[in-house]
Amino acid sequence: MTVEDAGARPLAGRVGAGPGRGRAIALRIAARLAKAVITLVGVAVVVFIVLRLLPGNQITSSLGVNAGLLTKAQYADLEHYYGIGKPLTQQFGQWAGDLLHGNMGLSEQSGRSVASLIGAALPVTLELAIAAMLIGLVIGVGAGAVAAAAPGRLPDRGARLVALAGLGVPSFVIGSGLVALLASVFHYFPSSEGFASLRSDPWLNIQQIFWPALTLGLGIGAAILRTTRGAMLDVARRDYVRAARGRGLAPRLVVIKHVLRNALIPILTMSGIQFGYLLGGTVVVEEIFVLPGLGRLLLMSVTESDYAVAQGVTLVFALGFIVVNLLTDLLYAVVDPRLRS
């Protein structure tokens, strides 16, 4: 510990804003972006290799049993077309190059471009993800704060029980249960008429998105509830909370200004983690509720060995995950001033 000097020297340049601080922030963002790009490239390589390593190739997958009927020359032609014989690095280079030009290849099954398939499916999944995250945050932070306000009492025990259910019951069970319930008991089939976009029929769209978003949101909300409750209880015990009360602040003000504000950090962390699970969850939920989103697209492409589509969707998912991580990192700096310098 240095010998500190608490008053004679004027303030060192640490305190307050200035041109130095702006540059520091820009550097941090640049560093994060660079890392994100590297991770994305890494994922692309992994995806590429995994799909190429899987038994069977594009020829057998698109022709199936009929592949055996090809003559040697025909087989060689197709091999050349798919670039199968070439070294992996060359194939990857070709694919990456195409990718940067916005060309993700063609779908085997439909013949449409992968880019257009993804473009159609992306808004659906985006809407679903945002809605699910919102529901999860509202439930999680709301119920968590209520639980933390009176630990051990009825609202707390009830909230923790619900959280346990949300964590323990898989989304496919919740989703299936919901669909079964709505269909057989309430005779309610929002998905029967085909998907309605937000623009064409907002009310139907909301109905179609709400139930799957609720299914996912319950799981997310459960985890965020536990985190919020734990974080708020932990922060409430800290010295600075006691000091704030010691200055005469009303309890509600103390909770909002000091407890909740400091609890945001672990809540933010958990939200980021939950988003990761959310992406995987869309596959299941879109399947159950018949939503034409990226998850369903991925599932179909993988089961039908439509490699180009599978690659493209996986990349988009990874990109989404990386972007959210980046945003979370930046949000940390907003919430916690200690991370800004």
Binding site: E4, D5, R247, G248
Partner: protein, 331 residues
């Protein structure tokens, strides 16, 4: 009987008891403490860790609510108002504006995600100040604690300041509401020695200028000697000796006080070995019968384990809780 005088005390603690509530019952941590603090007086509360001195302060502010430690008896009167058991609304009115507290660790006592000036101002606004008024007052009090460039410093976050500066900020926050009484819970313990003296000098200056009453809790007798007019010594949740500082130092009436004084290095030239108090403070859940100091007391007599001595006036204005008069002490 506690030592009281003719001037009406600002803070009157009578028979205060604080205990830890657990599944197996209540463990007493503060047992029947009585102490008066007069306006403008500097009183010190000295004792080892675990003697209950910090809890006494927290109990006076009503800041024990919500923890498993609670007030189990006694009274604390500020001016004429009873604080023990008072509704939070009443206590809030006093905190910051009549009675304020500074804490041991300035890093953990300041909210890390809020600017320092805002933390001072929020207390003022809670007592009805306008935004502008609170701002002006904040800058004024930051200047009073000799912090440079108050306007810039108010916008700083706690982690951007040094330990000494953070402690000054905390003192400023305590002074902002113009309290009549300052409770100090070992505010210099976590600081470097050089900074300790600066902070001590600062509080002394502020106390003089504002005619502030101060109750200063410490385990360091040296700090107490420099600053307080009256000294109370705590052991195992009880006050065992109390009196004017000079008198207590010159002629301690309780063996524990005497042992503490022997443990302080002397600069008077005598080269005697530093006295040590053998043993350690008792577990509050398992207090020995009678006087709790018996296991470590060089003067203990058989009768000491039978009755718990009460604080009684001795020579001068010193009171002590010991059955063995000084004249009969063995060397």
């Amino acid at each position: 009987m506690s030592v009281t005088t003719s001037v009406e005390p600002l803070l009157a603690i009578r028979d205060l008891s604080v205990g830890l509530r657990s599944r197996s019952g209540v463990t007493p941590l503060v047992r029947g403490v009585s102490l008066d603090i007069r306006p403008g007086e500097r009183v010190g509360l000295v004792g080892e860790s675990g003697s209950g001195k910090s809890l006494t302060l927290l109990a006076a502010m009503g800041l024990l609510a919500g923890s498993p430690v609670e007030v189990t008896g006694g009274s604390v009167r500020l001016g004429g108002t009873e604080l023990v058991g008072a509704p939070d609304r009443v206590l809030r009115g006093f905190r910051g504006s009549q009675i304020a507290m500074i804490y041991q660790d300035p890093m953990t006592s300041l909210d890390p995600v809020q600017r320092v000036g805002a933390q001072i101002a929020e207390g003022l606004r809670a007592h009805g100040a306008s935004r502008r008024g609170a701002q002006e007052r904040t800058l004024a009090v930051l200047a009073e604690v000799q912090l440079p460039d108050p306007a810039r410093l108010a916008r700083a976050y706690p982690h951007e300041l040094s330990g000494g500066m953070r402690q000054r900020v905390m003192i400023a926050a305590a002074l902002a509401g113009n309290p009549r009484l300052l409770l100090a819970d070992e505010p210099t313990t976590a600081l470097d020695v050089t900074i300790q003296r600066q902070i001590l000098a600062l509080v002394a200056g502020v106390q003089q200028a504002r005619h502030l009453a101060v109750l200063w809790v410490t385990h360091d007798l040296g700090v107490a000697a420099q600053f307080v007019q009256r000294l109370a010594v705590m052991y195992a949740g009880r006050i065992v000796e109390v009196g004017p500082t000079a008198a207590v130092f010159a002629s301690p009436q309780h063996p524990y006080t005497a042992a503490l004084l022997r443990a302080v290095p002397s600069t008077s030239g005598e080269r005697t070995a530093l006295g040590q108090i053998p043993g350690s403070p008792p577990d509050p859940a398992r207090l020995p019968p009678g006087c709790s100091f018996v296991p470590r007391c060089p003067q203990a007599l058989p009768g000491c384990s039978l009755t718990d001595p009460v604080l009684e006036a001795r020579s001068g204005e010193v009171a002590a809780a010991c059955l063995v008069p000084v004249s009969e002490w063995r060397p």
